[in-house]
Structures are given as C-alpha cells and as structure tokens.
C-alpha cells in the first residue's frame, strides 16, 4: 500500500510540476471560460443561460484535451526517454503503475473541472443543479477514464511521442468543434450533426448537461450515450493493450 501511495504522490508531483499540464489543464480552460463569459455572458443557448451551457462544454473539452493531448503523450514520452523501461526493471507490478496513473489523472481532471465551474459560477453567474452533482461527478469520472484510455491507445499505437502528439491533435481539434461543446449541433449541417452525435465528447457532454442542468433535453437516450462511451473505452483498451511497449522501438 505504501508503494502505491508514494508512487501516486510522485505522479501527482510530476503532473503539477509539468508546465504543459499547468498551461493546458488549468490556465487554458480558465481563460477560455473567461473569454466565453465575456462574449456570451448574457445570452441564452438551448433554453438556458449560455455560460451555464458553455461551462459544461469547457469541462468536457478539458477532459478530452487531457486524454487526447496529455495522456497520449505522457506514456509515449516516458517510453521514449527510457523511464518506463527503468520502472520495468523494478518489481513494480504493472497494474499498480497503471492504477496510480489513472487515479492521478482522474483527480487532476476533477480539480480542473471544479475550477472551471467555480470560475463560471462566481464570475458570470452560471448555475448547476446541486441534486445532479453526485451523478455529474460519476459521469465526469467515467468520461475521464474513457479519455485516458483513448489517449493511451493513441500513445501506445504511435511509434514516437511526436507522432502521438500529432495523432492526438488530429483527433482533438475536429472533435472540439463537432462535439456540441461550444458550437451547438444545430449550427452544423444536418449530415455532420448526425455524425457528430456519435463522438465520445458529444455523448459525455449530453450526459453531463442533462445531469447538471435540469432544463436541458438530451439529444439522445442516456443508455445510448453510456453504451457508446463504454464501447469507446473498450476499443481504446484493446488497442492500448495490443500496442503497449515498455521501451522505444
């Protein structure tokens, strides 16, 4: 147990001392919510205040960025630098390494989500249903885990950290605009909106908005979204396990 705790603390420190995590995980989403609030603070979207709608969108955007950009490169980078092989040379059980990593990334993701919501609520008066908080928490954890797995799949399959970063960005940037996060699906052409509703980020934001904003109507049934996220997670897990390597090629 002590091994797991020290490993988790070390992973936590590594994340908090990493400049890209600090910028992309904390400064960027907070800046984004402040910018959106300044532009659309008084408007309404989907029958609710725009900032409330956007707040959940930025939380999911951050979860997606954490997975597709952060997680896809962390293991690939540690692998390319020989750090994973150094750990592999110790009697550390791989499941403890993975468990510690996932725990730290989920914790950081939840802290980031809480910060985004706090800023949106305090600065622009965004609201959320307190009765939906427990469900929202569970869904956020599910979303974080699914995107961590998808990030690992990209990082494992990519031959180098550079290619992992490139593939992660190629997936992340289109999804950012096509997943109902800050650009409503209604604004997209019909065929594109039909495709977009099947992205993991669309499914997660749909679940979170209906859990945290009582007036919101889901774009598709919750069980479809949950099943979709589960399938993405399973597919990512299969790819990550199939291509995982301790050392660079």
């Amino acid at each position: 147990m002590r091994r797991f705790l020290v490993l988790t603390r070390s992973m936590f420190l590594m994340n908090l001392r990493d400049r890209s995590t600090l910028f992309w995980g904390f400064a960027f989403p907070i800046g984004l919510i402040l910018l959106y609030g300044a532009i659309w603070g008084g408007a309404t979207m989907g029958g609710v205040s725009a900032i409330t709608w956007l707040m959940i969108g930025v939380v999911v955007l951050n979860i997606m960025a954490s997975g597709m950009i952060g997680d896809s490169t962390w293991f690939a980078s540690a692998r390319d630098k020989g750090q994973l092989q150094r750990l592999h040379a110790t009697p550390l059980p791989p499941l403890q390494l993975i468990g510690s990593y996932v725990l730290v990334r989920v914790l950081i993701g939840l802290i980031q989500a809480a910060l985004i919501c706090t800023v949106a609520m305090l600065v622009y008066g965004a609201t959320m249903s307190l009765s939906g908080l427990a469900l929202g928490f569970g869904l956020a954890v599910l979303g974080l885990v699914v995107f961590i797995i998808l990030g690992q799949a990209v990082g494992a399959a990519a031959p180098s950290v550079r290619s992992a970063m490139a593939v992660g960005q190629v997936i992340y940037f289109p999804l950012m605009f096509l997943s109902n996060l800050f650009l409503p699906l209604e604004a997209l052409p019909g065929w594109l909106a039909n495709v977009s509703q099947w992205t993991p980020a669309t499914m997660l934001v749909d679940l979170l908005r209906t859990a945290l904003i009582p007036q919101m109507v889901a774009t598709q049934a919750a069980w479809v979204n949950l099943l979709g996220l589960g399938l993405y997670g399973l597919l990512g897990l299969l790819v990550a396990v199939r291509f995982f390597r301790w050392s660079p090629r």
């Binding site: 590594m14 750090q83 092989q85 150094r86 750990l87 040379a89 059980p93």
Partner: protein
C-alpha cells in the same frame, strides 16, 4: 566459489538479427564481471535478459538460483539496475527519486536514510536538485544510488562510464569498487578496455552475439595479446584492446567524453 548468475545457451533475436547467439557463462558471487565488446555486440541484450526486460528466444538465465523467465519479479527484487540511458523523471528531485524507488522496492527509508544514501554517492548538496540541474557525472551517480536503494545482491550496470569525462568516469569507478567491497556482485557492460581493465575481476569479450574469450584481464592479455612492435612496446604495455583486435580483427570503437567538473567531489572521495 558459488555462481550468482548462470547463463546457459542464450539466444536473443530481433527480427532477423541475432543479438545474442548461444552465450553461456557463469558469474561468481562478489566479483566485478565485465562484458566487453563494441556497440551491437550483444552486451546490452544479455544484460536485458538478466534483468528480465527481454525474453530470450532460447536458453536460460538464473540469478541466485531463480529462473528469470519464470520468477521475474523475484529476480527483479534481488537486482540493482542502471540502464544505458539514465532515464530519471525530470520533474522529481534527487531525494524524491530515492524515496520513489525505495517505495517501489518496499524498502522503508526515513529522510535521514535518504540523505545518507545521497551523501554516500557525493550528492548531499544536490538533494533538492532535479536531474536536469545535475552534471552528467552527478546524474550517473544518482542512477547508481537508485540502483542500490534496495540493497541488492547483484548490481547490473549498462555502460556506466559512457559519455562521462575522465574525472567523472573515475568517480563512477570508485563507487563501483565500493559496491564490490560491500559484498555485491557487479556485472557491467562496456566498450572501454580501460574501464574493463581497471574494474573487472573477469572479463567476457563479446562479438557478434558470441562470447569469444573469458578470463581475468591479465590472463587474457598474457594469452592473446600479440607482441607489440619495439617502438610501441617502449611506450606502453599490451592491453585488452590488443586482445580484442587479435581475436576479432577489428577494434572496440571509441567513447565520447563530455566536459564535467567533478574535481571537488573526487577530491572528497579520495
């Protein structure tokens, strides 16, 4: 003497390349054993098999009686390891790295124990420094400190002197001799004949994945080194490089030294 490591008919293949080609050898308790050969000779692959990092295509490796393929975790707990790349997490400082590796080996270590270990490796002034703030020699010493954090019976060092300037390299050699005096078995790979000659009780010369000679450095030189031309004999003694050249027909290749000021620490160690 008892064998600490027994390698029997070891084969390692990467695609069509035979990295290790039927190697057998036995390494005794408490000796410093060197695998000497040029880059690509199969030294690191042999070491990786002992560490359990590479699964051999054939043959067996036993450490302290444990089969590495079947009892990998038990073997890893007995070993101290320094890889060719120092591979330290850049976001953690020296103390935090020692604490992390101690925890990984389930070794309880107080702050005082961590400080004592760092002092033992000449790093007491660098306890809060991150790896990127350390010189090449200091990084290598930190890697060696991490290699003995579990008080291992066997320490495996992959090219410990490579990339260091002569002073830093001598500092690392001092630490390796100290490891032996503490009763550990040390296995190192090197392509520096000077390092092998200075440190090793016995040397295995490896080329093309095969062990082509095995003995003490003095015995290898006496048996295989050709007579030097008179002009050269006046300047130097025959060495392991001459042995290697005589056995394989080609040289060992050079090392690349970097500038690194280690004089203060060396003086303290001396």
């Amino acid at each position: 003497m008892n064998a600490m490591i027994e390698i029997n008919d070891l084969y390692v293949r990467y695609g069509k390349v035979n990295a290790v080609n039927g190697m057998s050898l036995s390494i005794q308790v408490g000796e410093v054993f060197g695998l000497l050969g040029p880059n690509g000779a199969g030294k690191t692959s042999t070491l990786a098999c002992i560490q359990g990092l590479v699964r051999p295509n054939g043959g067996t490796v036993r450490v302290a009686g444990h089969d590495v393929s079947r009892e990998g975790m038990a073997v890893k707990a007995l070993l101290g390891v320094q890889l060719q790349k120092t591979a330290l997490f850049e976001e953690l400082n020296a103390s935090e790295l020692v604490e992390l590796f101690a925890a990984i080996y389930n070794v309880p270590m107080s702050k005082a124990d961590v400080a004592a270990l760092l002092a033992h490796f000449g790093l007491s002034q660098k306890a809060t420094a991150r790896p990127t703030q350390l010189s090449g020699g200091q990084q290598q010493r930190l890697a060696l400190a991490l290699a003995v954090v579990n008080n291992p019976q066997v320490v495996l060092l992959d090219e410990p002197g490579t990339g260091l300037d002569p002073q830093a390299r001598r500092g690392v050699w001092t630490l390796i001799r100290r490891m032996q005096s503490e009763g550990r078995t040390v296995v190192l790979t090197t392509h520096s004949m000077e390092e092998a000659q200075e440190l090793c009780d016995r040397v295995g010369i490896v080329d093309g994945g095969k062990l082509i000679a095995l003995d003490t450095p003095q015995a290898l030189i006496a048996r295989h080194a050709p007579p030097l031309p008179p002009a050269e004999a006046a300047r130097r003694q025959p060495n392991l490089e001459d042995v290697f050249l005589a056995l394989t027909g080609h040289g060992l290749g050079g090392t690349h030294a970097s500038q690194d000021d280690e004089s203060a620490w060396l003086a303290a160690v001396a």
